[in-house]
Symmetry: C2
DNA sequence: TATAATTATCGTAATATTGCGATAGATATG
DNA sequence: CATATCTATCGCAATATTACGATAATTATA
């Protein structure tokens, strides 16, 4: 086992879970927040900023890239990473929809 | 290795990542959505509803309980689970704050 | 072309997660 | 009290994640 049974859930449920997963690590939260503050960033800056090895940062950046949240454009010897506004909006809306679904009705438990 | 270095991140970053992790599985998303729809629920119903074994459901419920998102009150031989409104609100606000921080400025990359 | 600078990838070790059968624990009912 | 019902926990196997050193790949510069 150890394998999530995606086939028994809806596409939306699987997608939302994957979105959550993309952000379910403090390093990736920190990277995103750093990109927001800087509006642009290269991996090297992040290695200095966070306390993780270059290989580790690169791996987290790859996951964020796979999630679609960030894009990287090559700029000389370095890479400029930034947030993808469209995907960010999709995330925001998906999360909003999820959290808005529950209204506290005080009529249970 | 294999151990997240929480000590190099802020409390907020660690907490937000943990919140994301609590919801980073389709079964837990499905459980929450089921609780929202039913306004109350027992574990047995979820076992029928989702296609996972009772032990697995119980494990996911435990994680959601640890995350504070749900509460369980014993009701005879079964347990009535429901969402904790206060914690839900905290989650909602934390997520909102995170997603609102980025404004698309079209002046990068 | 050689060197420096920067990022990606590979390989590996340690830890975490997922799923489930088996079983224990708790409570209602006969 | 014995039995049925329901949930929690244990133990295990399979897979995933995290972290990092070493190294490859790419591009700028001397």
């Amino acid at each position: 086992m150890g394998l999530t049974k995606t086939e028994i859930f809806t596409d939306k449920q699987n997608k939302l879970a994957q979105m959550m997963k993309a952000l379910a690590h403090p390093a990736r939260i920190a990277i995103i927040q750093s990109l927001i503050k800087a509006e642009a960033c290269v991996c090297g800056d992040l290695v200095d900023e966070l306390g993780l090895a270059q290989a580790t940062i690169s791996q987290h950046l790859k996951e964020l890239k796979n999630a679609g949240l960030i894009q990287g454009t090559i700029e000389g010897t370095s890479v400029c990473y930034c947030i993808d506004p469209k995907v960010w909006k999709q995330y925001k809306e998906a999360f909003d929809t999820f959290f808005v679904a529950y209204k506290n009705k005080d009529n249970c438990c």
